[in-house]
């Protein structure tokens, strides 16, 4: 059976870790690091196998393949065929390509859940389920169609909408209670400062807030 699937980039950052037998998180990280160390030392145009006896014990094999900036690693035991697993890896990448239209590392970074869904359609419990990328892609489409409806607005948009609403409604709020507005602005500011310092959209948010404050305080 297949013991695990790992995607990591060429700096050793994991992008997907899936083990089909339970591994504690620290162990997973350690395995990723030690696999990365081996992968780094491999030259180009060499065979895709890695000796993994020291990591997983005898009989366990490990194949990897490089696609652009990503390493795809499959860990499996002797009940799988080595070349077939390399083909399976190709199927996985093709499916990713179909689902994301010209997949790149960023797609995998930001679609953690979708990548897992795709993988679950190909391998389940270590058993290979489907080897045709068309089939997998259509199955994933069918699953994620209802999912896309429930997607919430991106945060930056939420913040902008909120700020705009504050500014535009300031007139009548002002009339009602200047003090309330001030309190509200301050609370928003407080939360914003806590959480959104790192966002590009913060600029727009804060400019609105300062505008508010200077105008009415």
């Amino acid at each position: 059976m297949i013991r695990g699937v790992i995607i990591m980039n060429d700096q050793g950052k994991p992008r997907l870790i899936k083990f089909y037998e339970f591994q504690p998180p620290e162990k997973q990280q350690e395995l990723v690091r030690s696999i990365y160390r081996v992968l780094c030392s491999r030259a180009e145009n060499v065979s895709n196998f890695i000796k993994a006896d020291s990591l997983f014990g005898p009989d366990v094999r490990l194949v990897y393949k490089t696609f652009a900036t990503l390493y795809f690693v499959f860990i499996f035991d002797k009940s799988e065929n080595e070349l077939a697993v390399i083909d399976l890896m190709q199927v996985f990448v093709e499916t990713l390509n179909k689902c994301f239209r010209e997949v790149c590392e960023l797609d995998i970074v930001f679609n953690f859940y979708k990548v897992h869904t795709i993988l679950d359609e190909i391998i389940m419990g270590g058993q290979v389920l489907e080897t045709s990328s068309e089939e997998v892609a259509s199955a994933v489409d069918a699953i994620s169609r209802p999912l896309s409806l429930s997607l919430s607005l991106p945060l930056s948009l939420r913040v902008c909408v909120c700020a705009r609403a504050l500014v535009s409604s300031c007139e009548w709020v002002l009339r009602c209670n200047r003090h309330l507005l001030l309190q509200l602005s301050l609370r928003v500011l407080e939360h914003g400062a806590q959480k959104y310092l790192w966002l590009n959209s913060t600029e727009c948010f804060f400019s609105s807030l300062y505008f508010l404050l200077f105008r009415f305080v």
């Binding site: 059976m1 994991p14 992008r15 997907l16 870790i17 899936k18 089909y20 339970f22 998180p25 620290e26 997973q28 990280q29 030259a43 145009n45 060499v46 065979s47 895709n48 196998f49 890695i50 002797k78 009940s79 065929n81 080595e82 070349l83 077939a84 390399i86 083909d87 970074v109 930001f110 953690f112 859940y113 897992h116 679950d120 389940m124 419990g125 270590g126 058993q127 290979v128 389920l129 080897t131 089939e135 199955a139 069918a142 699953i143 209802p146 999912l147 429930s150 919430s152 991106p154 945060l155 939420r158 913040v159 909120c162 928003v188 939360h191 914003g192 959480k195 959104y196 790192w198 966002l199």
Partner: protein, 918 residues
């Protein structure tokens, strides 16, 4: 604790925000940022709003999976969210459960049972497959037991994707809860006949996993697998079927005979490399007795080796190493390609090739192969170079150097290996140098020659990896100094200033070797002057003479004929001896103040000896006629005694030597010796040097040979009196006096060459040698040198392999299901293959019974279900009749029953493996 405020949920970060933020954090501050994010999540996840909880769980799962953050504390929240109506919420909850739950320790898994059951029986295929994939990830015995009925229903689901996933899930459930086999197995087997490729590949994959552990139980299914092998054209399915046959074929020779033909056909007609390789592997591992098939497979392997793709090359080499165990000629045929792979750029391929090359080493080609390998090792990187050297040493040293015929060559080769620039195998080389010295008498002269070169080279002293080799070389040069051409240069080498670079333990060996060399020179000198000086006549040691004469004829005979014109004797003038002694004194003098105990002690020994003999030498130098002084006599006697003790031949000691010593009567070995501690408390155990060899006649291998020699001759009166006193005080721990003498003579010497067992072994070696020589190489006139060895080498510990109890349970259950079947069918017709679909009423009733216990609520439902099954089975029987023309009895139930009665008796008998496919 209070939940998150409205403001918190309004501005809750989604997973995308989290990822973006993580990417923007400056390096180094990531842990702090994650800690803060986790803090937020802890608050948010307690929210009553499912959307807030969902987002929090999403983020947490992400951090857990990719940043290794612990989320066991949030297990309950995953369970909570999994009951949500929204599919995306459910998906996140189940994924986080699959990624983070530990089936063995997470106790909230039990709370998930209900949700899983609900989803498994949901009409929504997505929900079902979600639940199945979760179940396959976190299956534990409780879950498996509780969800088996649902799984049983899904195994015949009309939706192909669902059925496929159910089959894949079955594996985990079987492993965790073997009783489920009785319920589900028949349905799984039914799926083997399915025409859908997805389902077929899932079932075949399942069986290839199951046969991995206990193949025998699945033999009755061989006909089904055979049909798939012949009919199916899908590579994935064929690979898995081949895996199954690789396990089944060794159990049943007739099966191998039957399947080898289709496998060969697939191998030669199919283009997919993965499939071809699987065919090759199946034939080589499980059907190696079919010569033509093996030949074909080896041909394919050669094609693989010729490919440019490194993967194929690597796998080809692996396939060859499978053949190598049984059929070495296949490897020899491809030797050219294997050797070529040794210089591949890929370390995997090189290692595999190296392993193969070592497989084909034999007496005839060992020299050629070693020469090729050493030239490769010089070209390659340090890591691989050492791999090569390690493999050479291992292979050549295997089973007491069985592949080595010319030891002179091998000894030279060892020296060459030690000089390979990246060599880090010093310890192994050192061990072999000493081992050969002790075991192979005929190789000693060459050995001394090789070690002389090693000891003399001052460049080698700077390499710390070489120190072990140098220690061995120094020991060999000291021990077999009588075979050396020029003891003086060895003495100089042993005392050269650069030896200060050596570690103290190695230095100690150097000094001790120098001591032996000095002893030898002194002794030879005294013998040379034996005529005119007053040496006792006993010094002409017949044993030594014969010992040296045994050696190779190009050796310098140093004694026996004192007037021979050998170079050593030429050098043995009083001046040269004196110069030697002075050299030793000058070099060792400073070491008498060394901090290292071993170095200090040994150099003091040598210096003490020099003090003893120097006056004699000077005296004889002054008075050429020889002074008959008393001191001189004792000095020469001492020299003789020490030399005797040093020239005692060392030999290997059998591992079991101690066991052969009979325990004398009255020796209480089992008694509690705790009170001995206070007596021995102040006695320090002697430090073990790297060469603690046991001298046969002495009870201890003392590092101080000097004092040993003295004690041998006349134990000093002081020590004997002390000993007697000690004996009086602690008589309990001494052997009875008479007894000691009697038994000590009875002890078989550990490596006595006349030892009966060893003798037998040697005879055997000689015998096989002779037959080899007469059979294989009649041209060789010189027989292979005798290697001293014992037949009772190390006792190999047989490791008991443990197979999982669970696997046994599964196979037990499978056996019950399948062989129960077997008994019902095999009686009716031998030609009929066992078919699980031939479910008789009673066996289906058996299933129904189990069903009943599982579905205690849905009794009525089960009734209809049972009917349906009966209907199915009769329909299938019809179908089967149509196919199987030999079978004439119809599907009449009456006949079924009557046949069944007869089977009852059969079932009582031990299950017999039926004839398959015959």
């Amino acid at each position: 604790m209070k939940g998150p405020s409205l403001m918190d949920s309004l501005f809750q970060r989604s997973i995308d925000d989290l990822i973006k933020a993580l990417r923007l954090t400056p390096p180094g501050t990531e842990p702090a940022f994650i800690a803060k994010a986790i803090e937020e999540i802890r608050l948010e996840i307690k929210s009553t709003d499912p959307q807030t909880k969902f987002l929090a769980l999403q983020k947490l799962t992400y951090l857990h999976s990719l940043h290794g953050h612990d989320m066991s504390w949030a297990a309950f929240h995953s369970v909570e969210l999994s009951s949500s109506a929204s599919h995306s919420h459910k998906r996140t909850a189940y994924l986080s459960a699959a990624l983070s739950f530990n089936p063995a320790t997470t106790d909230v898994i039990l709370l998930l049972t209900h949700h899983l059951r609900k989803d498994l029986s949901s009409p929504n295929a997505h929900a079902v497959s979600l639940a199945l994939s979760t179940l396959s990830s976190i299956c534990n015995p409780d879950l498996a037991r509780d969800l088996t009925p649902e799984l049983f229903t899904l195994l015949s689901s009309s939706k192909i994707t669902v059925r496929k996933k159910a089959i894949a899930t079955v594996l985990g459930v079987f492993k965790q809860y073997p009783d489920s086999v009785r319920v589900c197995f028949k349905r799984v087997v039914e799926n083997l006949e399915n025409l859908d490729l997805g389902i077929l590949s899932a079932v075949v994959g399942l069986f290839s996993e199951l046969t991995e552990n206990e193949p025998r139980s699945y033999l009755p299914l061989a006909p089904e697998f055979y049909k798939i092998l012949v009919d199916c054209k899908n590579n994935w399915v064929l690979i898995k079927v081949l895996k199954i046959f690789a396990k089944l074929a060794p159990l049943e020779p007739r099966l191998g005979k039957r399947v080898v033909e289709p496998i060969c056909e697939i191998m030669s007609t199919m283009g997919a490399k993965s499939l071809v390789f699987e065919c090759v592997r199946t034939i080589l591992t499980s059907m190696s007795e079919h010569d033509s098939a093996v030949k074909l497979a080896v041909g394919k392997v050669r094609e693989f080796l010729l490919e440019d793709d490194p993967n194929l090359k690597y796998l080809g080499l692996q396939a060859l190493s499978i053949v190598a165990q049984k059929n070495i000629s296949a490897v020899v045929e491809n030797k050219d390609l294997v050797v070529k792979s040794l210089s591949d750029s890929d370390i995997n391929i090189r290692l595999e090739a190296l392993r193969l090359v070592m497989c084909i080493v034999s007496e005839d080609n060992v020299m050629e192969i070693c020469r090729i390998l050493i030239s490769h090792s010089l070209k390659s990187d340090p890591e691989f170079c050492n791999e090569i050297l390690g493999f050479i040493l291992l292979t050549c040293g295997r089973n007491y150097y069985e592949v080595i015929f010319y030891f002179d060559w091998y000894v030279l080769f060892l020296g060459e290996m030690a000089r390979v620039p990246h060599c880090q195998k010093g310890d192994e080389i050192a061990t072999q140098l000493i081992d050969i010295g002790m075991r192979v008498k005929d190789a000693r002269s060459q050995l001394v020659h090789v070690t002389r070169d090693l000891v003399i080279d001052p460049a080698l002293l700077g390499n710390p990896f070489m120190h072990a080799v140098l220690a061995a070389a120094a020991w060999v040069s000291g021990e077999y100094i009588m075979l050396s051409r020029n003891p003086f240069e060895i003495m100089e080498a042993l005392l050269q200033p650069r030896t200060s670079l050596l570690s103290p333990s190695v230095r100690a060996v150097y000094i001790h070797s120098a001591f032996k060399v000095l002893m030898f020179c002194m002794y030879s000198y005294l013998r040379l002057n034996g005529d005119d000086s007053s040496l006792p006549s006993t010094l002409i040691d017949s044993e030594l003479v014969s010992d040296v004469e045994l050696d190779d004829q190009n050796m310098i005979v140093t004694n026996g004929q004192p007037l021979s014109t050998s170079s050593v004797i030429d050098h043995l003038t009083q001046e040269s001896i004196l110069a030697l002694v002075n050299l030793a004194e000058i070099n060792l003098g400073p070491l008498a103040g060394s901090n290292e105990l071993e170095v200090l002690e040994r150099s003091t020994n040598v210096l003490g000896l020099i003090k003893l003999i120097k006056p004699m030498l000077l005296g004889s130098l002054d008075n050429g006629e020889g002074d008959q002084a008393k001191g001189e006599l004792t000095a020469s006697e001492t020299v003789k005694m020490i030399f005797d003790s040093c020239s005692e031949d060392l030999g290997p000691v059998s591992v079991n030597a101690q066991e052969r010593v009979p325990i004398p009567d009255g020796l209480g070995l089992k008694e509690n010796l705790d009170d001995l501690e206070e007596i021995c408390g102040d006695v320090k155990l002697p430090l073990l040097t790297s060469f603690s060899l046991v001298r046969p006649q002495y009870t201890e291998a003392s590092s101080n040979a000097d004092s040993q020699g003295k004690e041998e001759s006349e134990p000093s009166s002081e020590s004997t009196s002390l000993l007697a006193e000690h004996r009086k005080r602690h008589g309990l721990y001494y052997l009875a006096l008479g007894n000691t003498m009697a038994t000590s003579n009875d002890y078989p010497p550990a490596h006595d060459p006349k030892d009966k067992v060893a003798d037998e072994a040697e005879d055997l070696v000689k015998l096989t040698e002779k037959s080899l020589i007469t059979g294989k190489k009649p041209s060789q006139s010189k027989p292979r040198p005798v290697v001293v060895k014992f037949d009772d080498g190390e006792v190999t510990n047989v490791t008991t392999d443990r197979t999982g109890i669970k696997a046994d349970l599964i196979s037990g259950a499978v056996n019950k299901v399948l062989l129960g079947d077997e008994a019902t069918t095999s009686s009716s017709s031998r030609r009929k293959p066992p078919k699980s679909r031939r479910v008789t009423d009673e066996s289906s009733a058996g299933i129904a019974k189990i069903d009943q216990s599982e579905h205690s609520k849905a009794g009525s439902k089960h009734h209809g279900h049972g009917k349906e099954r009966r209907h199915q089975s009769s329909a299938k029987d019809k179908d089967h009749d149509h196919k199987d023309k030999q079978k004439s009895d119809s599907t009449a139930h009456g006949k079924h029953r009557s046949r069944h009665r007869a089977d009852k008796a059969l079932e009582a008998q031990a299950p017999v493996i039926p004839d398959f496919l015959l």
